[in-house]
């Protein structure tokens, strides 16, 4: 079905970079709103479930070489239950993708181009995504790997330029309100970090799967680092109260950049990162859901699925939420559970069952550096 092959590091970069575009903007408000000045702890905390995901997915990927999570769920759980779980995973990828497109469209519509209706952005992005995904994994990988230095570079430059507005007192005191707010605040960030689950769909197409562990860990930690920097900067500049009150603190962060009265008003960088990031993430997730669905239905290629899926995709993205606050509510409450189920519980569950039933190829253990 998918004949392309990508290298381990390409897969890692894909996994690392794709949630950045959206997470950067939306995450910090959730974190800061709950955890106030301890928001910077959250990304560190959230790495722990991330590690669990990494190990589970790697182990499963090596035990069932050449199979994506959708495929080996069928192997492990049998035909009906396996297909059901596979469909759940497909739906997870699909639905999350629609949400991020909605986010981006409402951002563009609200802030950048007010009179243009959000549907325009959604449809247009949808068309470009179908065009891209049609070419398969290799092209998606190439696109993402090329975009990676642009995102990280812009991000680092912005942080650098905003340093003078930072006030580190905003990060103190430490754990004054106990751990509970931190935990509450880490729900949404967890969901974003757990997006590394997408690797479960990529491992079969990697050219040296036994070497996947180190790059995968790198992706997890790298993502954590970038999100951490982001949250910390927002916290430092806006403080524990404002940071949570503003819906998109990073947007304001970028607006504050003013160097020598000339490098100012660089919101175009925002649009670049956000639109680019959403596009890249949607590519990958839409592709994963199409691939997964094709595998569940045992089709030969994903082609016949793409257009119809995209139509549904656009429809859902457009009609799902009537307004942005509804999305905020969803991201806080149902989503972390939704994500937890699919990102963490399902892979771990599959792993346990597979081990109990003694399935899969025996390995000495996933190798680190090959």
């Amino acid at each position: 079905m998918e004949k392309g092959k990508i290298s381990v590091w390409q897969a890692a970069i894909l996994t690392l970079i794709h949630p950045l575009g959206t997470g950067m903007f939306v995450l910090p408000a959730f974190a800061i709103n709950w955890a106030r000045e301890d928001a910077w702890l959250i990304e560190i905390l959230v790495t722990v479930p991330g590690l669990v995901i990494v190990f589970a997915v790697t182990k499963l990927g090596l035990m069932f070489p050449g199979q994506t999570i959708v495929q080996y769920s069928e192997t492990i759980l049998g035909k009906y239950l396996g297909k059901l779980v596979g469909l759940m995973i497909v739906w997870y990828f699909f639905y999350t993708g629609t949400v991020i497109i909605f986010e981006m469209a409402s951002f563009l519509s609200a802030i950048v181009m007010p009179e243009t209706r959000a549907v325009v952005f959604i449809v247009f992005t949808g068309i470009v995504i179908v065009y891209t995904v049609n070419y398969g994994l290799e092209v998606i990988a190439r696109l993402t790997v090329w975009f990676f230095p642009i995102i990280t570079f812009s991000f680092v430059v912005i942080i650098f330029l905003i340093v003078k507005e930072m006030n580190l007192d905003h990060l103190r005191p430490f754990l004054a309100n106990g751990l509970k707010p931190v935990l509450m605040g880490s729900l949404a960030p967890y969901a974003w970090r757990g997006t590394i689950i997408v690797m479960a769909m990529l491992i079969p197409y990697v050219n040296q799967p036994q070497k996947i562990m180190v790059p995968y860990l790198f992706a997890l930690l790298g993502l954590g680092l970038l999100f951490e920097l982001n949250t910390m900067s927002d916290l430092a500049v806006f403080g524990p109260f404002e940071g949570g009150r503003i819906s998109l603190p990073t947007v304001h962060l970028v607006k504050l950049v003013n160097v020598a009265d000339f490098i100012q008003h660089i919101e175009s960088v925002l649009v670049l990162i956000w639109v680019g990031g959403v596009y890249i993430m949607s590519n990958l997730w839409f592709y994963s859901s199409a691939l997964g669905l094709a595998q569940v239905l045992k089709l030969k290629t994903t082609r016949p699925l793409l257009l119809p899926m995209m139509v549904v995709y656009i429809a859902i993205a457009y009609t799902n939420y009537s307004n942005y606050p509804e999305f905020v509510d969803w991201a806080q409450r149902p989503w972390p559970l939704f994500a937890l189920l699919h990102q963490l519980l399902i892979p771990v569950f599959l792993l346990i069952i597979a081990l109990i039933r003694g399935q899969g190829v025996r390995q000495a253990g996933p190798q680190g550096k090959g």
Binding site: A110, I111, M113, P114, E115, T116, R117, V120, V123, F124, I127, E165, D169, R172, P173, A176, N177, V237, F238, G239, F241, E242, R245, H252, K255, L256, N258, H265, L307
Partner: protein
């Protein structure tokens, strides 16, 4: 069959694309059809339910060299008092947004707030609370959070009616004033971001810069008659708030005290009588401020230890008590005396600010935040009574000054006679 289907899909996508591309032009705004708003002034109208919003639009020809040979006739010659550079218009409405919409009805160009630099609020309105006014700006996506918030004693509109000589347009003039506010530090850099952070914090009460107009009035020979009645704007002092209501003003030195305490002091000058000289004055420039602050509770009383250190350079002295002696040896007592002099001035500024804060029970120095950082649990217990506790705090200020340079000379000029007398 399949071919027809494919053809249909193809046409559908093409049509869709065309519709999308054409309709995207909804938010199209031609740049010359925009009215760039530089400043907004908001006052209480006579009717207490309404706000009066004044908008100052910068006309594109206002900057030198704009337009060239094309259309824009104004701005030529340079002798004018800038009558062609701005457009001032007011409207009343129950909320800021409503008033702005009414202004739009009068404006041929679309009001564009993307380059807004300052928001001026009139005193009367400020005393009733600024939170609601700022809410509009908070939500607006076009502007950024580093716009300046200023309070004007009297009417905010008067500020926008001023015509400063340099920079012609008040909004640009305000911008310029803030940029080199650090030359004296007699005013407070209150950006929207800073103000809101202070407002939303646990215990700090916000401070905003004060802006006034100075009438120039008199006609000097050679100046055109419309110079009479011209006003300049001045940025000096600050306004202190209780929550979001204005309660009092700080003068320049008290404002400096606040800056010292908040670690925001960058640069300024201090003048005091020469301690070693004969009732003449000397001036030092002060910079490089550092602050260490400790707060703790003892026997139910709040103690605040504030350690400030800074550096100074001598810039002017009007007597002959110098740091270096005739033989270029260092005069230690003079040295120490000067440092002590500066230190006491700084201490006075801080204590003056503290007095004002006590007077109104407003924690403008941010002591509450420090206390929270150092003793979070205690603060939570005391939070409700904080204004009282704060007012009765024992504030201990220690200032440490190091004089570094004396400018380009080692000793000040002495005419022969004076030197003989000193010997």
């Amino acid at each position: 069959m399949a071919k027809i289907f494919r053809r249909g899909v193809f046409l559908l996508i093409v049509t869709l694309l065309m519709t999308i591309l054409n309709s995207g032009c909804w938010s199209r705004r031609e740049i010359d059809k925009l009215a760039f708003v530089g400043s907004v002034a908001i006052d209480q109208a006579e009717d207490p339910e309404l706000l009066e919003v004044t908008v100052q639009v910068i006309l594109p020809g206002a900057l030198a060299g704009g337009g060239g040979q094309t259309g824009m006739g104004g701005g030529g010659g340079g002798a004018s008092a800038g009558t062609n550079k701005v457009w001032l218009v007011s409207e009343k409405g129950p909320t800021v947004f409503e008033a702005v919409k009414k202004i739009n009805d009068m404006s041929a160009n679309h009001l564009f707030f993307g380059h807004l630099t300052s928001v001026i609020i009139g005193e009367k309105l400020a005393r009733n609370g600024v939170k609601d006014v700022l809410d509009n700006f908070d939500r607006m996506s076009e502007l950024r959070r580093n716009i300046w918030i200023l309070i004007a004693p009297g009417r905010a509109k008067d500020i926008l009616e001023a015509r400063p000589k340099l920079q012609g347009v008040p909004s640009l003039a305000i911008e310029g004033l803030f940029i080199h506010q650090t030359d004296t530090s007699f005013s407070y850099p209150s950006s929207l971001n800073n103000f809101l952070i202070m407002l939303s914090s646990r215990s700090t009460d916000p401070v905003a810069a004060r802006i006034t107009t100075i009438p120039v009035g008199h006609i000097t020979p050679g100046e055109p008659p419309w110079e009479a009645g011209r006003k300049e704007i001045k940025l000096e002092g600050a306004a202190i708030f209780e929550q979001d209501k204005l309660v009092d003003w700080l003068d320049g030195r008290e404002t400096r005290g606040v800056l010292w305490a908040q670690k925001k002091f960058k640069y300024g000058t201090i003048t005091f009588p020469n301690p070693r000289g004969n009732h003449k004055f000397m001036t030092f420039e002060v910079y490089g401020a550092r602050r260490k602050i400790h707060t703790f509770m003892e026997d139910g009383e709040l103690f605040v230890n504030l350690d400030i250190s800074c550096k100074g350079n001598m810039v002017e002295q009007d007597s002959n008590a110098d740091i270096l002696s005739q033989d270029l040896f260092i005069e230690k007592e003079n040295f120490r005396a000067f440092e002590a002099g500066i230190a006491s001035q700084v201490k006075q500024e801080i204590l003056a600010a503290m007095d004002k804060a006590r007077e109104h029970k407003t924690d403008i120095l941010g002591i509450g935040e420090r206390f929270y950082i150092e003793h979070p649990q205690e603060f939570k217990k005391l939070q409700a009574d904080w204004p009282e506790i704060f007012t009765n705090a024992n504030v201990n200020v220690v200032v440490n000054v190091k004089v570094r340079r004396t400018g380009l000379i080692n000793r000040s000029i002495n005419a022969q006679k004076i030197e003989k007398e000193a010997k």
